[in-house]
Chain length 376, copies 2
């Protein structure tokens, strides 16, 4: 599945093979929360912004339209029109951040839907069943995502439960993949490393889940309130214990600088709502830093967002036109801006892969790691 092609320091250039196509890594997953990219992009537009993996949210799709509806319609690939790899998260993160009052037991979590308040139970088996109904390429294990800072004792108990849940996820996914009417008999399962900001808990947990021979390993529960130095320290601490022959995924991260730092510490896969969310507010990434298109100085600027960018937006429209569209609150503003930012992120990853291929990633990192996060 994962083939390591080359290393530069701890940074890895690889390929991840799936039944829905091969992902060149390091790669960034484009987030289509409710089976659509926010800002008006379709799965067909994702091809034009060089997306490799579409990420959809299990919790959101379970509550609306319902995973059984999507299964009856042929699964997420047919529903959205995307034929490449799709990763679904486990629903765990949303259960712990979005849903109303919740109650955690050994079996799983009872919570209220954020749409209609309806009481829902989700445990490892339910999460696997939902993701099986969605028919994604990669399912994520159902875990507890603890907010930082967390009590040491609570974090320790939580990862022990998350490990027990992971074993149940693995067993259930095996059972589901062997059902005769499953949508994807090769559905993959990634485990998730937790342990708050405690290096010893993180390492102990990674060692434990590494033994389960999963299809990939994620680091979760970061970028949820802790300083970025903590995030980088934890990645470096657990990396030696993540299986070398498996893909590694840093969940929900992050800025271009965060991604470059993550790659340099051995991470292969990322996802974040930042490019699309920032775009919808007029904040655009360029190779010289971040610009705010709402700024009056762009009213008469007939250059593209980034003169070095080949995205569909930069090929056709000026900063002045986008500035006007944002001021006039036209939906087209969001669509053109999201198109640019996703293209930027996907091509940042391509650039990183090229630098790794050329053995020049370290120089690239030194030049761009701070520059790309700068507001200009």
């Amino acid at each position: 599945m994962f083939k390591l092609i080359k290393k530069e320091g701890n940074a890895r250039r690889g390929e991840f093979h799936t039944v829905h196509g091969t992902v060149q890594t390091p790669a960034f997953q484009n987030v289509a929360t409710c089976a659509a990219i926010k800002g008006g992009l379709s799965a067909y537009d994702l091809k034009e912004v060089d997306c490799q993996v579409q990420l959809c949210n299990t919790y959101h799709l379970h509550v609306r339209p319902g995973d059984k509806v999507i299964r009856e319609l042929g699964g997420l690939h047919k529903f959205t029109g995307w034929d490449g790899p799709i990763l679904t998260d486990s629903g765990g993160f949303q259960v712990f951040s979005l849903a109303g009052l919740r109650k955690i037991k050994e079996e799983g979590v009872t919570f209220n839907s954020h749409i209609d308040g309806k009481k829902i139970f989700m445990g490892p088996e339910e999460s696997m069943q939902i993701q099986s109904n969605l028919g994604s390429t990669i399912a994520m294990a159902f875990d507890e995502c603890v907010k930082n800072p967390a009590e040491y004792k609570y974090a320790k108990e939580s990862i022990e439960r998350t490990t027990r849940w992971l074993i149940r996820c693995k067993n259930e996914m095996e059972r589901l993949n062997n059902l005769p009417d499953t949508l994807n008999k090769n559905q993959l399962l990634f485990g998730i490393n937790q342990g708050a900001t405690y290096d010893d808990l993180r390492v102990e947990h990674m060692k434990t889940i590494a033994e389960l021979d999963l299809d990939g390993y994620a680091i979760g529960g970061l970028a949820v309130g802790e300083p970025k130095e903590d995030m980088y320290r934890i990645i470096s601490a657990v990396e030696p214990f993540a299986p070398k022959d498996k893909i590694r995924y840093l969940m929900g991260v992050g800025t271009p600088g965060n991604i470059i730092e993550g790659v340099s510490r051995g991470v292969d896969l990322f996802d974040c709502v930042m490019p699309s969310r920032n775009a919808r507010h007029g904040h655009l990434f360029t190779w010289n830093g971040i610009i705010n298109l709402n700024n009056a100085k762009y009213q008469l600027d007939d250059t593209p967002i980034d003169t070095d960018c080949d995205c569909p937006t930069c090929q056709k429209f000026s900063r002045a036109y986008l500035h006007h569209l944002f001021k006039a609150k036209e939906i087209l503003a969001m669509r053109l801006a999201v198109t640019h930012n996703l293209y930027f992120y996907n091509n940042l990853m391509k650039r990183i892969r090229d630098e790794l291929d050329n053995g020049t990633f370290t120089e690239f990192k030194d030049k761009y790691v701070d520059l790309l996060d700068t507001r200009i």
Copy 2:
């Protein structure tokens, strides 16, 4: 400019030649109020929905971003990326419907911007200057659009003033087109017939403006509150007095049925926000009538909006997916729906032209005039 190819009854099949390309008529103009189609379509997408003419609103663009800004950026064609014909309205309709307190004098109208309340004066000369700055293909004369029902006496005084304004528009447009730095030295000017719902005023006004040898003739002030029978009666009343060798434009109309009726009475050009506005609310046109995608019966419907439709939306997505996107309030819902409805309207016009070419328009009208407006 206008070439009449064929007639069937009063219905006309023609061609309208402009410096920005030829329009096959009857034609529907696609409304990009603030220099963008509401719902997230760009000028490039208009090509994919077979649009022939983009319509932009003078009033909206004058208040934001300002016509001088657009002129400095090279005009509407460069600003939006649309290289075909663009028609700009005069601003008159918005001054009388959108703007705050207003005061009409012989010189023009003083009103308050609906954006920031700023006091603005617009008369015939100002309207021509703004449209010249926008660099549209076709400018509309500055007129008073009287709400129906209107007092006879007021309507009579109003059309007399509108005629005096039209002469000033013509003189000012000639002056502007001859300026050395004009954006479009061939900018066309259409006059607008008014007279509320009074046939004698309408006819008298059409006779008067027909003598001014303008580039086209519009019928304005309809579909503003009167029964549709009044609209049809008035079109039939004024049609004999509109120059045969000039294009005729029925402003702000309408449903597919209204358009078919308009064509049968000798109208060549239409515009309306209905297809895009209805689409944004989930109301989609099909060749069997109008469907409401919000309806629960579409949740598991994996057929396209219209099985007979070749639009980008129907080629790629199901009613079930669009139903979900509307429920989830995803912007993509609006974009895909607007794409379909504009394609439907533009191809309704193509179908009408084909029927006229084949001499079968009357049969087509009998079959579809009511059916297309039916809610199913």
